[in-house]
């Protein structure tokens, strides 16, 4: 008998008319390249939601960047029918809601809301690689939410797969028998039917009060050019029906429900959503900030007294200045950010001016990946050429007079008597083969890490736990970790608070003029190294001037490091070929044009490219000595 319900059976699992007993809400927890999207594709096919012809790889990942990077930024919820025999041998139809979760550290809050919409989680692990740190972090999150975990090893078709070894590892992590671990191949479809059966068997049915005041949790909110904001909800109590007015409990704002429906896998309007069901709402609002993830939706005429727990506003953790390389692109950058903001409640920005970089924005991000994704979307979707300043975190500075300053840009770090500076701290989890333990400990040590513990996941893999200042992580930590472990280590972190630290602002001065883009807040002990590194970089990048130019690193008025750009000695064309004055004049005109495009710090002319190269993390290329002339 087919596991796809017949039309008659389907009546029992029609949206708004499905008993909670027949609902299963689950998500898939996986590392970015462990095959989640491919497995989801197979499920869509096997449940008949998408036929093979319409299938395109990674159906659910909508944005190009997501598809290319193999990661899912925005979650969606798909309703799939699946029939399983009961004890009496009768086929019972079920509605499975697969809630896709973002796979990265920066989106922990969104992940937590997605998990809160489920009763079960498929823990999907690459059978050739084993579990990764972010997966582990999300697994802990799922366990905290009391989700039923279904361990699954994927990619068993790979020659390098070691399902036995990693089944053991998973059993150690979540308890139970290695035998309970399902082995599937999202690519070939092997084992996927059994997984669907297992979901029906193990994931608990949702429980809620159909007669109570309606409470539905928003677990995602997406801006669509044609429909406005599409809000994804999980109904906990009561129900939602079309044309009713709903209220967002955090803002008290009310909207008319223009459309309500389920995704299967395209949006299908329904008569409503009942207890335990998952679907989407359209109210006509235009900004995802009016429909916040984690908020509770209730009915305006019969509102719930209390919102569901767990709501919080997304807080930017990492800040960076974004500047168009061509200053005339500034309005285009502003428009692009305004557009992205419609779909990204965590993105915020303010105009900022830099002496070195011109007009731009100080942008707040959830984390480094968020930064990278936004930057890439700005460049790719909006065709902008951008330069970003080194990312920094938020500092709370308390002055001697007890006044407090919140610093999101190092150049705003106050002068004067400072009583205390506090910086955010994260709990970091690093998974790596045992051979790299020493290298990782050394790295964390130099990054002011505080070791919290270490566990063996298996004979040759360890989990290391550290408390680290977030500032240390945003500065190049992940690249260092990857290079010191030949790419084998994985990292996850979550904010756990803040700490006081001996932090200072290092300024970089070019001929005694401060260059704002290079100011940095660093630990006192690292100030000298930072100053020397940046002064050295700029020395190599800034062309020689007709006078000597000192580059200094300073803490306040104290100079801690110095480099000197020697004065240029020769800048004259020896002769005019056969009286070709025109050629020489045009050359000078070109040089003058070039000079106009340069930024002038004090009297020093600096090509924009020098600032850009100094800000990029790669080692500075030697300046092309003859390119500037002739």
């Amino acid at each position: 008998m087919s596991p796809i319900p017949t039309p008659a059976q389907s009546q029992r699992i029609a949206p708004a008319a499905t008993s909670p007993d027949l609902l299963r809400n689950f998500c898939i927890i996986a590392h970015i390249d462990h095959g989640k999207s491919t497995l989801a594709d197979r499920m869509l096919q096997l449940t008949g939601v998408v036929d093979s012809r319409a299938m395109r790889a990674q159906y659910l990942d909508r944005m190009d960047i997501e598809r290319e990077r193999g990661i899912t930024i925005k979650s969606q919820a798909v309703r799939m029918p699946w029939a399983v025999e009961d004890a009496a041998g009768t086929l019972v139809p079920y509605a499975l809601n697969m809630i896709d979760t973002p796979g990265h550290v920066d989106f922990t809050y969104e992940v937590s809301r997605s998990l809160a919409a489920c009763e079960g989680a498929v823990l999907l692990v690459d059978a050739a690689q084993g579990i990764e740190a972010q997966t582990l972090a999300n697994l802990y999150l799922a366990l905290e939410n009391n989700l039923q975990i279904i361990p699954v090893l994927n990619k068993i078709d790979l020659p390098a797969a070691q399902p036995e070894k990693y089944a053991e590892e998973l059993a150690n992590l979540i308890g139970g028998d290695p035998e309970d671990c399902l082995k599937v191949s999202g690519k070939t479809g092997e084992g996927v039917e059994a997984l669907l059966d297992r979901i029906v068997q193990l994931v608990p049915a949702p429980v809620g009060n159909p007669g109570a005041e309606t409470r539905a949790m928003i677990f995602d909110s997406v801006y669509d050019t044609y429909r406005g904001v599409v809000t994804y909800v999980r109904v906990v109590d009561g129900d939602l029906n079309p044309r009713e007015r709903i209220t967002m409990m955090s803002t008290k704002a009310s909207h008319e429900l223009l459309e309500i429906g389920v995704i299967s896998p395209e949006p299908v309007p329904t008569k409503g959503l009942g207890v335990g069901e998952v679907g989407y709402l359209i109210t006509g609002v235009k900004d995802v900030r009016q429909s916040k993830v984690g908020d509770t939706v209730t009915k305006q005429h019969r509102p719930a007294a209390e919102a569901l727990g767990g709501y919080s506003d997304p807080k930017p953790m990492v800040f960076s200045g974004l500047y168009p390389i061509d200053g005339s692109d500034y309005p285009a950058l502003r428009d692009a950010l305004d557009k992205l903001k419609l779909n990204d409640a965590a993105l915020n920005y303010e105009p900022e001016t830099s002496v070195a970089l011109g007009f731009g924005f100080r942008v707040g991000f959830l984390g480094l990946l968020h930064l990278e994704i936004i930057r890439e979307r700005l460049e790719r979707e909006f065709g902008l050429d951008l330069i970003s300043t080194a990312p920094n975190v938020i500092y709370e500075v308390t002055m001697e007079d007890r006044s407090e300053v919140l610093v999101t840009n190092p150049s705003e770090f106050p002068g004067g008597k400072i009583r205390e500076v506090r910086e955010p701290v994260v709990k970091a989890t690093i998974l790596a083969p045992t051979e790299f333990v020493g290298a990782i400990m050394e790295l964390c040590q130099t990054r002011r890490g505080d070791m919290q513990g270490m566990d063996y996941l298996s004979e040759d893999r360890v989990e290391m736990r550290y408390h680290l200042p977030l500032a240390e992580i945003v500065f190049d930590f992940f690249d260092q970790l990857k290079s010191k472990t030949r790419g084998y280590a994985s990292l996850d972190y979550e904010p756990i608070g803040d700490q006081a630290a001996d932090l200072v602002k290092v300024d970089i001065l070019l001929q005694s003029e401060q260059v704002d883009a290079f100011s940095a807040i660093v630990h006192k002990e690292k100030a000298y190294a930072y100053g020397l590194m940046m002064a050295g970089k700029l020395k190599d990048l800034i062309p020689r001037q007709q006078f000597e130019v000192p580059i200094q690193a300073a803490i306040g008025s104290r100079i801690i490091a110095r480099e000197t750009i020697r004065a240029m000695r020769k800048d004259v064309l020896a002769k005019c070929y056969g009286g070709d004055i025109t050629r020489k004049r045009k050359l000078l005109e070109k040089q003058k044009e070039g000079k106009k495009r340069m930024k002038t710090i004090g009297r020093v002319d600096v090509p924009q490219e020098a600032f850009i190269a100094a800000l990029s993390s790669d080692a500075a290329p030697a300046k092309d000595k003859d390119a500037k002339k002739k």
């Binding site: 007709q546 006078f547 240029m568 000695r569 020769k570 800048d571 004259v572 064309l573 020896a574 002769k575 005019c576 070929y577 056969g578 009286g579 070709d580 004055i581 025109t582 050629r583 020489k584 004049r585 045009k586 000078l588 005109e589 040089q591 003058k592 000079k595 009297r603 000595k625 003859d626 002339k629 002739k630």
Partner: protein, 413 residues
């Protein structure tokens, strides 16, 4: 290969000049540059418009070159007359190349006769030819002197055989004192050309070259930094890494050394790259370029300037000959200098000279920058205040001479 010609406006076929060339013409001297686009060997660093015999097809042979050049002289005479410029005898003639002395002395004499017949030579006119120390004989020099040449400039370049080899120069440096003596015996004033900063040249090599040039007792020396021009064989060698790229600091040090040695020997700079024993020994043709006087350049690729109009001839000797044969001006393009460009040119040309540029000729914005240039040690402070000179002038210090282009960029808007 030869340097690309500038972009400009199309030049009229009859060579006609705009009326504006008449403005102030009486105050400008008039000179002739005569280009000889032939060499026996093409040097690896050279991007001048010159050809070895094998590079040219018929219609542009060396033997018919004087005839072709004379037809441009005739065209020049007609055009200048039609432009109603005042009658001005020629004050300076300079025959350059290429290697002018690959042509027989009688061809050079014929061309000079053509100039003389067209406009007349001013009393005491300076008539120079470049010459290769490799091939010139006492008889050649005597013939040139007899034809009316007053001055010869030898391409000495270096006294060090290894450096000459890198430059592809074939002459024996030991010949230099001889050719200088022969030229003087023929009654010619003599100048030597030197090149510094050749890849592989040490500071001591350069010192040896300067000292050996001075030892000949000449009254005029030009010293040019080697520039690796795109499209030359040397540029390819440098790109491949076969030769090191000349370093500007090294070239600066060599310039300073040369200036010290020249000064000690009694030669004073009068232009960034030129030194002379007395003001009378300076090359007046060269000065005319920097003073923005009028000159007509005869020959393929030659540049001309008459009263704010600049033009340049087609580069290839064959195209040049064909144009003249069919009665068309050989000009490939021209430009009428806009006021803003004129100011840049004026500053660019004048600051290279020891006489400098009157501060009053600067724009008001540029004038405010003079003080900073004095403070940086690039402009002579006393001259800027008018001490020891007729009016306040921008005169470059030695460091300023080495950074002349930077000074020009600062002193123009």
């Amino acid at each position: 290969m030869a340097p690309a010609l500038p972009d400009g406006d199309p030049a009229p076929e009859d060579g006609r000049l705009p009326e504006t060339v008449r403005d102030g013409a009486a105050d400008r001297s008039f000179g002739i540059y005569l280009h000889v686009p032939f060499c026996t060997v093409r040097c690896g660093y050279c991007d001048f418009n010159t050809y070895t015999a094998t590079e040219l097809g018929g219609g542009a042979s060396q033997s018919s070159y004087a005839e072709t050049a004379l037809s441009e002289i005739a065209l020049a005479r007609r055009v200048l007359a039609e432009a109603e410029l005042p009658e001005r005898p020629v004050g300076t003639v300079f025959v350059g190349g290429g290697t002018p002395t690959v042509l027989p002395a009688r061809d050079l004499a014929r061309m000079l006769d053509g100039v003389r017949d067209s406009w007349g030579l001013a009393p005491g006119a300076e008539v120079t030819t470049e010459a290769n120390p490799d091939s010139v004989t006492p008889d050649d020099l005597a013939a040139l002197s007899a034809a009316g040449f007053t001055r010869v400039s030898f391409g000495m370049q270096s006294a060090v055989p290894r450096v000459l080899a890198t430059l592809d120069r074939t002459h024996d440096p030991r010949r230099i004192p001889d050719v200088v003596r022969w030229a003087r015996d023929a009654g010619l004033a003599v100048s030597l050309d030197l090149i510094y900063g050749t890849p592989g040249e040490s500071l001591d090599d350069w010192r040896a070259s300067v000292e050996s040039a001075l030892a000949t007792g000449v009254d005029h020396i030009s010293a040019y930094a080697l520039v690796i021009e795109q499209g030359t064989r040397m540029a390819v060698q440098v790109r491949r890494g076969d030769l090191p790229l000349p370093e500007e600091d090294d070239q600066a040090a060599k310039y300073e050394l040369a200036d010290d040695l020249f000064s000690a020997a009694g030669l004073t700079w009068y232009e960034v790259s030129n030194w002379a024993r007395t003001p009378d020994d300076a090359c007046r043709h060269n000065l005319a370029y920097w003073r923005n006087d009028d000159w007509w350049g005869i020959g393929p690729g030659a540049h001309s300037h008459v009263g704010g109009t600049r033009w340049w001839n087609v580069k290839h000797p064959r195209a040049y000959a064909d144009r003249l044969a069919s009665g068309v001006s050989p000009a490939a393009g021209r430009e009428l200098i806009e006021p803003e460009s004129a100011q840049l040119e004026r500053v660019m040309l004048a600051v290279r000279l020891r006489e400098g540029l009157p501060v009053s000729a600067l724009s008001s914005t540029a004038r405010t920058r003079v003080a900073a240039l004095v403070a940086d040690g690039l402009v002579d402070g006393l001259a800027a205040l008018g001490r020891g000179v007729d009016v306040p002038r921008v005169v470059l210090t030695r460091r300023g001479r080495l950074l002349a282009d930077a000074v020009v960029r600062d002193l123009t808007d």
